[in-house]
Amino acid sequence: MSNYNYIALIPLLPLAGFLLLGLFGRRYFNKVSGILGTLLLGVSAILSLVAAYQYFIVNGMVDGVYPVIEPFKYTWLQFTDTLSIDMGILLDPISVMMLVVVTFVSLMVHIYSLGYMKGEERFATYYSYLQLFTFSMLGLVISSNLFQIYMFWELVGVSSYLLIGYYYDKPSAVAASKKAFIVTRFADLFFLIGILILGFTGNSFDFNTLINTLTSSEFATHFGASFLGISVVTWALTLIFIGGAGKSAMFPLHIWLPDAMEGPTPVSALIHAATMVVAGVFLVARLFPVFAITDSGALEIVAYVGIFSALFAAVIACTQNDIKRVLAYSTMSQIGYMMFALGVSSFGEHGAGYTASMFHLFTHAFFKSLLFLGAGAVIHMVHSNNMQDMGGLRKYMPITNITFLIGCLAIAGVPPFAGFFSKEMILHAAYESHPGIFYVALLTSGLTAFYMFRLYFSIFWNKKAHLHGEHHSEGTFSMKLPLIILATLSIATGFIPFGNFVSSDKTVLHSHFDIVFSIAPVLIGLLGISIAYNFYQKQSDKPTKIAAAAGGFYKAAYQKFYIDEVYIFITKKIIFNLIGRPAAWFDRNIVDGFINLTGNTTTKISSTIKGLQSGKVQGYAMYFFGGVLVLTLFFIYCLK
């Protein structure tokens, strides 16, 4: 079994689904389009599992290393003899892992949406967008070169835009979709510049060639080009990281993520929790050898941006009342974990951070989509996003209650749930190389436990449920099934020996599990949980008192530290006034003025000479003979 040709089907099936549902779905089979999309994606998911089985188990390692396989590659654009842009499929441990994650979470979301989006008028459109997103995300993870990844990167951005703005009659959703698109697109500009610099330096866009060139020893010796005292490769990597930070909602480009929660909740689970937002992490991981070997300056940036975002988002998450926003900030915080895990890692033997980051990406995808889908079920029942409208729901929705609790325990890092193992590995990696980052991360994990259980107790315990209206059910079977599956995975995935499969140099990484080390994080987590229990298990005035005591800090955190206002100030006051208006003046007066001048001059000249065209035939004949006469005289006297 060494034939991987069927891999191409994994992204192509959702593409086919997108075209089919997008073109014909709404008109001809709106009702069954959900089932059709789910079936297509089910096939994709099975193929991904087969691929993972084949890659990791059947074929396994060759000489102690997982091989990099490119089953498909053809030249798409040939610029010169040496420079071309290819389209291909690249299989290595992280892309195979991502294939499984993306197809699987997407499948869960597809199944869940069958119930959640039932009766929607644009049901088929919704599914076609989901399929488009899945196609782009799958294309992104198996891209074999930087340009291909960039194309799919943008496609992912577009489908995210479409899905956030799915309720296009809601002005807030439209604004959120525009915001997401513009912010990520702004970051992508830097990404593109980074790609061009890196491609120019490494003389190729292909990942394998690029990594080999940039990490080779000859390259390191004449590592000449630099700009402002920093080497060009560092610049390129930093720019690429900015692109990744935009997609992954790292500070200060995170402002779009909380607003993106305007989309349907399953979409948030798929795109803004499990798959698209980890694209930035994936990108850094993809280029990790270059980051780690060539130069560590860019990696430091990754680490510090990651840890800052993790803490920053965790603090905000403690104050928000919209349950989806809490989850959004929690996502940002967890992605910060993945980022700084990459940042503290080094290549090869001390690459525990890399493995930990990928491990956390893997487990986080399952428990975070579980939490979002659970939140979706709650919103579906209460018809509100605000946690103050909820409380005491555990009797009405037992399955959601249990699965949500499992998700919360997983993200809080309580053993034996999945998040415990991956977070433990991250903390350990940080402890070994950057103790400063480790302590901040420890604090953050306490905060994580606190805000997750604040959420949990506020929804399911706290006050007595007061539901109005008569129809209250937990949702259809198709909504419960994904919750149960994901909850099972949130427990099971932690036991996967991840170091055997994914590591920075594709060999086996022996992760040592230290029981003594994990006491502190677990205790911190339990402390966070017990504080939340104390505050929110029953209705009490303790939270308001604490908030009042924290005063200005609480208010700042509640207002998300005024980042949005800063952006508005910078764009409206500074950019619009200092750059926009002068540019508009220049355009209206100088550029348009020049065009108007040309036009007016032409009009004037033509109105003076138009009298020659009098309509009198004999006049024309006169001009003609006059012309002949002049020419004759000219030839006789001037050109002898």
């Binding site: 138009k610 009298g611 009098s614 009198k616 035939v617 004999q618 006169m622 003979f625």
Partner: protein, 103 residues
């Protein structure tokens, strides 16, 4: 008296200017057409004369003349067709009456 090239050129030039005079002074389109025929024929005479007096062993000038006669016939046919159309439209063949095609 022997007829020289100068005599013939004198004749053709006179014919040419008579034609031009007719073209500019007449308002009737048919008359203007006749004036144009005069101009064309003055050219024909020139061709034949130059052929005969300067290169008597060649036939180029004569052939040109035949061409011009043919083309003049075609031109007359087209012109008369146009004039008939103008007449149907304006009930007049005075050039002063058809001045629609102007700025």
């Amino acid at each position: 008296m022997e007829v020289t090239l100068t005599h013939i050129l004198f004749l053709s030039t006179s014919l040419f200017f008579i034609g031009m005079y007719g073209l500019f002074t007449r308002r009737n389109m048919i008359t203007m057409l006749m004036a144009i025929e005069l101009i064309l024929n003055s050219v024909n005479i020139n061709f034949v004369a130059f052929n005969k007096y300067l290169y008597p062993e060649e036939l180029t000038g004569v052939f040109f003349t035949i061409f011009i006669i043919a083309i003049a016939a075609a031109e007359a046919a087209v012109a008369i067709a146009i004039i008939i159309h103008i007449y149907r439209d304006h009930k007049s063949i005075d050039v002063e009456d058809s001045q629609d095609m102007k700025y």
